[in-house]
Amino acid sequence: MSRDNILLKIDDLKLYYHTTAGYVRAVDGVSLNVAVGERLGLVGESGCGKTTLMKAILRLLPANCRQMGGEMYYKGKAISSLSEKEIKKMRWQEISMIPQSAMNALDPVYRIGAQIKEAMKTHQKGISSKEIQERAANIFELVGINPKRLRDYPHQFSGGMKQRAAIAMALVLDPNLIIADEPTTALDVIVQAQILERINALQQRYSGSLIMITHDISVIAQTCEKVAVMYAGKIMEYGKVRDVLNNPLHPYTLGLKNAFPSLLGEKKSLISIPGSPPDLIKPQPGCLFAPRCPFAIAVCQTEDPPAKEEDGRIVACHRLAEMEGLKVLAEDETIWERKVHAGD
Amino acid sequence: MKFSTKLFGFIKKDTAGAIGICIFIFFVIVALFAPLISPYDPGAMHFDETGALMRIHPPSFQHLFGTTWMGRDVFSQVVMGTRIALFVGILSAVCVVFIGTNIGLIAGYYGGRIDNIIMRIVDIIYGIPFLPFALILVAVMGPGISNIIIAIILITWRNTARVIRAQVLTIKQRAYVEAARISGASNFRIMYKHIAPNVIPLSLVYIALSMGTGIMTEASLSFLGYGAPEVPSWGKILFECYNSQAMFIAWWWMIPPGIAITLLVLSGFLVGRSYEEVANPRLRER
């Protein structure tokens, strides 16, 4: 991977929320690269820090969230060093987003067309209103909505249509990077499939990069090339989608994979990971997944596992070497529960 | 223990509520000991050494808030006025909320035609301009505390009834109400045994809020000249002050009763609002 090919570089980023109870370490030492045209999936349970990470890219974090270390570089430029004016210019023009829930992401009192056009008017001054109208209509056709419905208000759209409208809005300025934050979570399964299909289809035309944030590993499988698995503010595993899903090298990925119906054809019963994510205010020493990990050994409780890179794959686990054997054990669902009892 | 925690627990959480309660208790104490606190009979005229009536004398040690045009002690009047304000405020609030809660319970519980009729009536009452109506009512029935309270009750039960009805509609859906119905409990029993306890906290909120309305209405009517004739109310003190040239000169006659009204109404508002957050968490931040 050559250096100039990298669009977004995240380097040991630390984002802590300041609360009365102390710092919440939402993102704690994350490093990631997104190459031009690359589609990266970011997967993890809710509350693992993935949304915080993505918001940080657009500098949309609330005032009580502080960057405690590390940096993000967009096209080689540190995002935190950008002026207010520069960041405003960068938003949507360079990096746009498809919001988590389009239900609430569209302003209910303005027509959808107006909200799409608003983005164009803000960034492309001097553009004629006729052209704006044409482009909005084109983009609506692209996402499969009749352009006449640009005149509708959000409440007149169904959930799936709103999501498609949100996608259209993200695409309208042809940005270099789109961040899709759980674009399908709020939708029912059939509509989910339609939306994912639509996103896939669009990828044929759209040349920019995509970061797909989700807790649903199957969504990643359908849409992305690379995947990063995040847990408690840290990256657990990173690699090509096919590699990571077919051959997970981290116990957490194993568990996560068990938690979703397989889209790759293997019929299996679902196993979810018992327990809940750790307290991020006072994290315990060692691996943060250790309390829920059925394979945790003594070293896991004391030492933070280092991230090891091999063939473009990154894994942070003390027992990486034994993984082939552990994978077999993980097939047995009882092993996950036993751990919880033991942990009590 | 549990009930009182529920009732007063909010004080610990909310400074505004605590301030409100303190102001209220202060006025209750003043009202209880009014005859001891007020140095003179509020109706007595005061004369100086030469035997001349002490008309609009500024505040002094003898007369903390000065005197009125008829040489009466403003401080004593304000202190004695506390009783009327609290009496009107509390009594009207309790009546209003009692009536409003029951009507709301009936409307919400029975639903259908009864609910429809009651809510139509509520709509109509919302169309009645409150103060002009109270003014006419008190003017024709004759000024007096009881008539003022009746006027307040006749109009303001609508607010409580509407809110309680909405609350009852949601409580009615709960499983245990359904269970009680299936087990053959009477309507009356379901309403008062199973539903009412759940709306009582909200009713208490409205008692606190209605107290302010009551006090303000009494003061307004008194200011328009329809106050209860024989009792020294704060509104009446202001009426007398306004109607004499003294308004511009005797600030000591004008300011204290106004502050008293403001504080007491404020205390009701603060207590109501902060208790509302405890009683009805859904309304929080609203």
Partner: protein, 326 residues
């Protein structure tokens, strides 16, 4: 738009029913109580025969139901009967005072909602600061202070002590106006309007302000505000174009309630500032037992309340596309 006109028709019908009930109520109130209008004028030196004559003149000698039938048939013609005091149609007696009240109401509501909306937005924006605390304390105090007391203070301060503004009334006496326009559109009228409008406006501003503040706090947490920010809009655009517009919706609902309360406030404000409006008119008519005028004034005030409710509803529908009016 069809549904809108249907909705207005429906609301107007509701309004007619409400007003009918209202007027019946008032009719009964005036007649079922001791004291009659004639005895109010006894000192003028009338004979017993003359008094009976007056009772007949006012239609008070007839049985109650007959009086009611006359009252209702008059009402359908838009009449409230002949004023006992003024010897002409009650509506003609009210005449200008209706417009005087309407202007005062409208201006004070405008002041209230301007202060409420702008102030509420600012307080929400400045959340957690000293300014917010001071603002809330100030607003609550004004909300809980009696409006007539506020008026008295402003009157003695600005009009008496510093003589910046007139001491009440609506026009400086001794000016004859050629047209209605000349009466209301001049500097002198404006000067007289300032204090009463500010008094009523300040006192009515608290509720919309508090509602605006909470509504604003809620709206700025919404996803679409974040998306707007992500779209690269400036803070000003976000605040005024998106947040304010959405936060306004609950405030409009408050408008309906507030208009009803403000009418009560206007009765008091008109009394304090000697504003020749309907509020003061109703106080005088009630004191003189002039039933027709009191009835007409009450009726008009009621109609005004309901009209403001209707305006608020329509405004709401206009501001919020999600609401359909049927």
């Amino acid at each position: 738009m069809k549904s809108l006109s249907k909705y207005i028709a429906k609301r107007l019908l509701q309004m007619v029913i409400t007003l009918f009930v209202l007027s019946t109520l008032i009719f009964l109130l005036f007649r079922l109580v001791p004291g009659d209008p004639v005895s109010m004028y006894l000192d003028a030196g009338m004979s017993a025969e003359a008094k009976e004559m007056l009772m007949k003149q006012f239609g008070l000698d007839k049985p109650l139901w007959e009086q009611y039938v006359i009252f209702i048939s008059n009402l359908l013609k838009g009449e409230f009967g002949i004023s006992f005091q003024y010897g002409k149609q009650a509506l003609a007696v009210i005449g200008d005072s209706f417009w005087n009240t309407l202007i005062l109401m409208a201006v004070s509501l405008f002041i209230a909602f301007t202060i409420g909306i702008v102030g509420g937005a600012i307080l929400a924006w400045k959340r957690g600061t000293r300014l917010e605390l001071a603002g809330i304390i100030g607003v609550l105090t004004i909300r809980c202070a009696p409006v007539f007391w506020l008026g008295m203070i402003l009157l003695s301060f600005f009009a008496f002590r510093y003589q910046l503004l007139p001491l009440g009334g609506m026009n400086t006496p001794g000016t004859n106006f050629e047209t209605v326009y000349a009466k209301y559109f001049n500097l002198d009228f404006l000067k007289h309007l300032i204090l009463p409008a500010i008094t009523a406006g300040l006192s009515a501003a608290a509720t919309p302000l508090l509602v605006m503040r909470t509504s604003m706090l809620e709206v700025i947490k919404e996803d679409f505000i974040e998306l707007t920010k992500a779209k690269g809009l400036s803070d000003r655009e976000i605040l005024f174009k998106h947040a304010l517009r959405n936060a306004l919706l609950p405030v409009v609902t408050v408008f309906a309630v507030q208009a009803g309360l403000a009418i009560g406030g206007v009765v008091l404000v008109e009394t304090v500032f000697r504003w020749p409006g309907m509020g003061r008119g109703i106080v005088l008519a009630v004191a003189a037992r002039d039933y027709p005028v009191a009835q007409a004034a009450f009726f008009l005030i009621g109609a005004m309340t309901i009209m403001f409710n209707l305006i608020a509803d329509i405004l709401y529908a206009f501001l919020d596309p999600r609401v359909s009016l049927d």
